[in-house]
Symmetry: C2
Subunit: 178 residues, 2 copies
């Protein structure tokens, strides 16, 4: 498998109290598809591990979801290993103003949250970054930030050995077993 | 309000049979925040109109959700008005290979679906476009495509008159009533 040129991890904080499995699944799959190596997802149902294991086996790569760590610990350990903490929030600085700095970083922890993000996250973060100052979607914000930080290189990445592989097609679906 | 330089509409097809309101809400808000003028959402609960009306009143703009039109009609009318139909699918041509062409278009209908998209959509589309050939999220794919087609200009857009406005901040939350 092609080596990733940056080490990017994702941390999800501030889950809603109602279970929100679909949003979590989107966040995990987007992190995997767009060049992150792992996502920290706190205390959630373990079904997600089986889902991601299946996706890796079918489509390649070794993306990991890490359960059961408090967000404070994940952020503290990121700081210890000089991993920049980038918190996505509509209240932050415009992405286009900070993306030049972010591109220079080799190790990042991207924090995605929601309405329930504790104030401490804003203060612990090295960067609070807004993908527009409009309300939309943490899934969309994560996707655009991963894309911008890697300058689009993540779109070209190979996932190495896999059970299935798509051959891009102008019409229809072409899938092969390599 | 600042005028959008392109006319971009979004069409959602292939809803799952189980209600999937949260994904739909994400798709609507991403379309609105990232420069589309409207989204066609077929037959869904009308709650979403109230949600979007509230977002427009609070945060500006005149983004619209359009209900009750069959997808065939939306695509046919797009073709009649020479609006390019861009279908997002992991089976399509890599975004990075077609983005140059897409940027030249002034009127687009971006079709987002899911596993239940009818085969006819692949054949009716002018472009079938993949944001990676990996499984992830229609919300993320839509975000990256809107961002790339507009070359990042959508991030700088003002939403004009609004009840609340965020002042970008390196730490914390600053919201004003303009």
């Amino acid at each position: 498998m092609e080596t990733l040129t940056k080490s990017i991890r994702v941390l999800r904080v501030g889950q809603r109290y109602v279970r929100d499995d679909r949003t979590l699944t989107h966040l995990c799959l987007v992190s995997r598809a767009l060049g992150a190596e792992a996502i920290h997802i706190g205390d959630v149902e373990k079904d997600i591990l089986a889902t991601l294991g299946g996706v890796n086996r079918t489509w390649g790569g070794d993306f990991r979801a890490i359960l059961g760590e408090p967000w404070r610990k994940v952020i503290r350990e990121a700081k210890e290993e000089r991993r920049a903490v980038v918190h996505l929030t509509m209240y932050g600085m415009p992405l286009q103003d900070v993306v030049g700095e972010l591109r220079k970083l080799d190790k990042l922890l991207i924090v995605v949250g929601g309405p329930k993000v504790p104030g401490k996250v804003y203060h612990e973060a090295d960067y609070n970054v807004a993908v527009t100052s409009q309300p939309h979607s943490e899934i969309a914000a994560l996707a655009i930030v991963l894309h911008e930080i890697q300058g689009g290189e993540e779109l070209k990445r190979s996932f190495g050995k896999s059970r299935l592989k798509i051959l891009p097609s102008a019409r229809g679906k072409r899938v092969v077993e390599p």
